[in-house]
Every structure is written in structure tokens, then in C-alpha cells.
Amino acid sequence: MNYFVGIDIGSTAIKISVADENKNLVGHKISASGSMFYKYAQEALSDLLRELGIDEKEVVYTVATGYGRKLFKEADENISEITANAIGAQQAAKEHGNIKTIINIGGQDSKAISLDAEGNVVNFAMNDRCAAGTGKFLDVVAMNLEIGVDELSDYHFKSKGTPLSISSTCAVFAESEIIGLLGNNHSVEDIVSGVHYSIAKRIVKLVKRVGVKENVYFDGGPALNDGLVNAIENELGHKIFVPDYPQITTSYGAAVLACDAFNSESVN
């Protein structure tokens, strides 16, 4: 059997996903990225293949994406994460209906991609210069509030009062503001929902730059956080689709592309 590997070397995590010939996801692995991300990537890949019981040779085509894509020499090809994300999202949301707008919040950036009827990327906007509205910000907030990142969602839905808006737009200053709010013994829940809504507002502004078309899709690590999803939905005003494994869609996209690339190569 031929297998195709998509590897997404992100700033905070390395995501690898393996797809079979008819492009459905066979397995995936997430491991921390770091300074020696190249070594980690190799290990993670070999671990994943061992877990899935796939022989090294069966991997016929590997596509790399993400920040470190150019440094991962073994990959047969590398593509930008925008296209990888687009393909991955469409693939992940196949049954859901063809999606037109993709929101992706990564570790250190957030993207909004708009697709045309055929699913090609028409327009996209990216915020990668500022940490606010990214996964990193959520980690910082969680660290300051001394709660786990995954607990953020529960706190969000437990908030009774009005969410406390974080006025400073920059993550670093937001940190001091949150500490200030804690100092005036505001409830953690209100702070968390306030943070979620401030992120949601930034994201919706970003998406509006590319134009919101129906069938919005949201992925990236923070998409696991239901509170944030609800905040964005409230801001947007309509439901958004979140895949089962929102973190690995970009790498899944790369794998799918690897499969297409292999098929087109073998044909000619």
C-alpha cells in the first residue's frame, strides 16, 4: 500500500499525518517543536510509522509545510501552510459541505482564508506580527491565571457576570492588565471570557478583511477550546465548523497534496 506523509513544522508543535491512497487519514502525531525541530520531526515520523505499522518504504511521497518546511530536506516537496490548510480543511469538512472561509489560529499567528466555489484560495489575511489573538496568548493567559489551557473552555462557560474586556491590544500589556484585574479580585471566569471575546473580536476583524462567506471553518490548536469557538460564533453571528482534530488539518492537507502529487507524477 502506498502511504503519503504530510508534515507541518509549526512554531510550537510538529504535526504529522499519514494518509492512504484514497486520502483518508490513517494516523497522526503531534510533538513539541523546538530549536532542534528537525531531529524531533524525524523521530516523530518514525515513531508514527512504527505505531501504524507502516514500513518506511511504503511512504512514497512526503510533503512538508509550516515555518520549517524548507529545512526538512527529506520532504519531496514543500508547500505553504495556506494551501495546505485550505486543502486539509476541505478534506476534513468533506461531509459537512464545501466550506468557503477558513479561520486558523496557530501558535504564533492567525490566518483567515477565503475559497472560491472550486475550493481554490481566493484571498487570505494573516496576522503573524502580533501575538494577540494567537495560541501563544491563550497559553500566557492560562499560565497567569494558573489554570491549564484546556480548562479555559470550562471557565468560559462558567462566567456569570459581564466578560471583562481586555483593552490593551498587545499580549504583553494584556498580561499586566489581567494581573491588575486579578488584583481587584474579579472572577477568573469573567477574565477568561473577556480574553476569549477580545481574541474573537480580533479574529472576526481579520476574517472580515477577506470577507465572510457562509460555511465558516475553524481549526488550529486553540479550536479545541470550545469557549473560544463559542466566542467567535457569537461575534460572527453564525455557527462555524470545527473538525475533530483541528490541530492536524494543515499536515493532513499536506498529506492529501502528497497523494495528489504522487498520482499526477505516476501518471505521466
Binding site: 459581564t162 470550545d226 460564533e233
Partner: protein, 423 residues
């Protein structure tokens, strides 16, 4: 898996946005300053109830919306309606209204139009009266009407010196009274008008008591708190407001006898003038008082101008009461819409003198031409009088907070060392 959650309707989302704006300011008021005042709690909770929880205050009463303070509230109370001043300080509504108004127009009017467009009232006015004061508010009436609200225009003259303009305004007020009494189905009588004049007058006299404390060296109350108190008068029940302000006066009496000073010893005393700071747009006042200055007096229509002049009646009969009311709203008003407005300059100078102010901060909304156009004459007058003045242009958006803070702090520090040099 992604559990099911309801999504907010646009209305709810707008409420939440406004709530977040409001809570942010309320918390700032509550927490950023030293020696908070106990009896201010009523106002904080009031604003939280109305603007965060969107709790209607006037169930069952007929609510009369007024686009500007120039609509006589005495007549509204007399016909037992409830006046709701519709000046609006929310950035959320400002954005909504922004699409319906020209780009560079007054944020306050945009917010009011946004409020009407999104029909996002906790106390929805049954009818709205709009005096033809400044251009944008006058034209906004038509836009608001297109959203299915009944707006009745009340002609307001642009000059106040000539006999004709005063007669014109008196007729307008009478016309307004007839319209309102037809709408309410009640008659304006001597007794109910007299009672309402005295009640509003008493409320104003309480304001004067409050300002009395701000003249001392040790100022017991912050400028922003004062803005909040006067802002509450826009929509609160007048009796609750009066009781709350009475407690506030009592507490301030006690505080000022103890010499409590809410600002630093060297913090300069600021006279605030210009576009009205409407809750939650206390951006500039908060910046001023956070950068260690104290607003001791103001010349804005949301506070001093609304409370300063009381109705003086010579003969307590209907004909004279109505004329006194209309004169009160026209003659003493220092609104910049008037052609000549040296009254305002004299008032500012008088405020600086009687409240021993160190400097004047003139804040104009970006897009409010009348205040922007008067800026030159006020600055020139202050120059002549040797009173330092800072002109700031701002709008409702929370952005450029930083630049504004630095400019205000620079001005405040210049006042401080002027004071030190003088010693």
C-alpha cells in the same frame, strides 16, 4: 467533541459588547482611584444594572426620548412622562451608526443613530423630541425616523440675543408642550408644572451643593465621579437620583470636613470643557485623572450646563412658568451652536477663577464642527487670561489610548511645574 452552545443574536451580541465597554469603565472608576466614596456605589450599580444587565428602569411609564438637554424636562415630568436623554457614549453603537452617517461626523450622534438603528434600548422611548440644536443631531432625526421611530422636531434658535429668537423659542416650547400633552393625553396644569419645576430645581440645587465642595483645596470627589452622577440624571428615576445625591452630599460633607483629598497634593486642578463625556466614553476624563490631575469643574452640556441654571419663576402661573422654563433653556446656555458665544468663554474663565483651576482641557469630538470651530476663540481668550489650555481631539474608539495619555500627562506635568515655579 464540540458541544452545542447557543449563539448570541445580533441584539445580544450588541448588548454584550456594550456591557463589556460599560463594565470596563465602571471598574476603572471603582478601582483606579484612592479613597472611593461609599455613596457612589448606588451609581456604579445603577450603571451596571442599566448598561450591563440591560435592566429597564421605567416599566409602565411613558418614556419620552429627548435628543438633547434643551428639551424641557420640567414639562415632561409635569405630564408624568419620563425624560430619557438619548445622547449615547457607546463605541459599539458608534460603529453601527457610523455606516449610516458621513465618515467625519460626531461620534455621539453616530452612537445615538446606531442606538436607534439597532433599537437596542433597555428603556425604549415611546416618542422622541429632537431640538434643532447642532446640525448633525438635527439631520440625524430624519435618519432615525427611517427606522420607524416617531421623532418630533422642536425648533431651537441659533441666536439668543434677539427678541425674535426668544419669542420663537417660547413658541417652540409651547408647541412641544401641546404635542407632548396630546401624546400623553394629559393636561398641563399649574400645580403639576409647579411641582415638577420645584423637583427639578431641587435636584439642581443638590448639584450646586456638590460643586460647592469642589471649590475647596481638598476636593472630596473626583471629576469622573461627578460626570457619572450627572450622567445618571439622563435616565434615572428622579426621586432615586435625588435620594442618592442627598446621601452623596452628606458623605462629601463629612469627607470634606475631614479634609479628604481624592488627588495628590500637587495634582493640578483642571477645568474640563468641550464635547460632553457621556458614559461610557469617559476616556479623556479617566486619562486626566489617572495622570494625577483632578477635574474640579466642567463646562459641558452633560453636566454643568444642564444643572447650572435653575428655572426662576416670577409669577407662579402657567403662562409665566412656561416662559421661565423656555428662557432657562435658551438664555443661559453656552452651547457652541449659538452664533455669538462669548458667554461660554466668560463662563470658563469664571469657572477657573471660582474653582481656582490651574488649567483648562478642551476636548472636542472628531467631527463635531461647532466645538472645533470655537476652539480658536477659546484658546485665544485663555491666552489673554494667562490660563494654560490643552486642546484634544478624540472620538469613541478605544484606540490611540497611548498617544492621548502621553499628551495629557505632558500637559499635566507642565501645569505641575508651573505651580512649583510659582511657589
Amino acid at each position: 467533541m464540540h458541544t452545542e452552545h447557543t449563539i448570541e443574536s445580533p441584539h445580544e451580541r450588541q448588548n454584550r459588547h456594550k456591557a463589556m465597554e460599560a463594565i470596563h469603565v465602571i471598574n476603572a472608576l471603582k478601582e483606579d482611584f484612592k479613597s472611593p466614596i461609599k455613596s457612589m456605589e448606588y451609581f456604579y450599580t445603577l450603571f451596571e444594572r442599566v448598561y450591563c444587565n440591560h435592566e429597564p428602569l421605567h416599566e409602565g411609564k411613558s418614556k419620552i426620548g429627548t435628543m438633547c438637554i434643551q428639551i424641557p424636562s420640567e414639562i415632561i415630568y409635569a405630564l408624568d412622562g419620563v425624560p430619557i436623554r438619548l445622547c449615547n457614549g457607546f463605541y459599539t453603537d458608534d460603529e453601527i451608526g457610523g455606516d449610516l452617517m458621513p465618515q467625519k461626523s460626531c461620534p455621539l450622534v453616530k452612537a445615538t443613530v446606531g442606538l436607534f438603528a439597532s433599537d437596542n434600548f433597555s428603556d425604549k422611548p415611546d416618542i422622541t423630541f429632537s431640538p434643532t440644536t447642532c446640525d448633525q443631531k438635527t439631520k440625524a432625526g430624519a435618519i432615525i425616523e427611517s427606522f420607524g421611530h416617531t421623532i418630533i422636531d422642536v425648533g431651537f434658535p441659533r441666536t439668543k440675543e434677539s427678541e425674535a429668537s426668544r419669542a420663537y423659542w417660547r413658541e417652540s416650547v409651547k408647541g412641544f408642550a401641546v404635542e407632548l400633552s396630546k401624546f400623553q393625553g394629559k393636561k398641563l396644569t399649574r400645580t403639576n408644572l409647579e411641582n415638577s419645576i420645584k423637583k427639578v430645581g431641587y435636584a439642581q440645587s443638590l448639584y450646586h451643593k456638590l460643586t460647592e465642595f469642589r471649590k475647596h483645596q481638598a476636593v472630596p470627589i473626583l471629576g469622573v465621579d461627578m460626570f457619572l452622577v450627572t450622567n445618571a440624571f439622563f435616565f434615572d428615576k428622579i426621586d432615586d437620583w435625588i435620594r442618592a445625591v442627598e446621601n452623596l452630599v452628606a458623605e462629601l460633607e463629612q469627607r470634606s470636613s475631614e479634609g479628604v483629598h481624592v488627588a495628590g497634593k500637587a495634582s493640578p486642578r483642571i477645568v474640563y470643557t468641550g464635547s460632553p463625556p457621556i458614559f461610557p466614553n469617559y476616556k479623556i476624563p479617566l486619562i486626566i485623572e489617572q495622570s494625577d490631575a483632578i477635574i474640579v469643574a466642567d463646562e459641558t452640556c452633560s453636566s454643568n450646563r444642564m444643572f447650572n441654571d435653575m428655572v426662576a419663576v416670577d409669577e407662579w402661573n402657567l403662562y409665566d412658568m412656561i416662559d421661565s422654563i423656555s428662557d432657562k433653556y435658551l438664555k443661559a446656555c453656552t452651547c457652541p451652536i449659538f452664533t455669538q458665544n462669548d458667554d461660554r468663554i466668560r463662563r470658563i474663565i469664571q469657572l477657573v477663577r471660582s474653582y481656582s483651576g490651574d488649567g483648562v482641557i478642551y476636548q472636542a469630538f472628531a467631527g463635531c464642527q461647532v466645538y472645533e470651530m470655537e476652539q480658536r476663540s477659546v484658546l485665544a481668550a485663555m491666552e489673554r487670561e494667562g490660563i494654560p489650555i490643552l486642546y484634544i481631539e478624540s472620538d469613541y474608539s478605544p484606540s490611540q489610548q497611548g498617544q492621548l495619555t502621553t499628551r495629557v500627562e505632558a500637559f499635566v506635568e507642565s501645569l505641575k511645574n508651573r505651580k512649583r515655579m510659582k511657589k
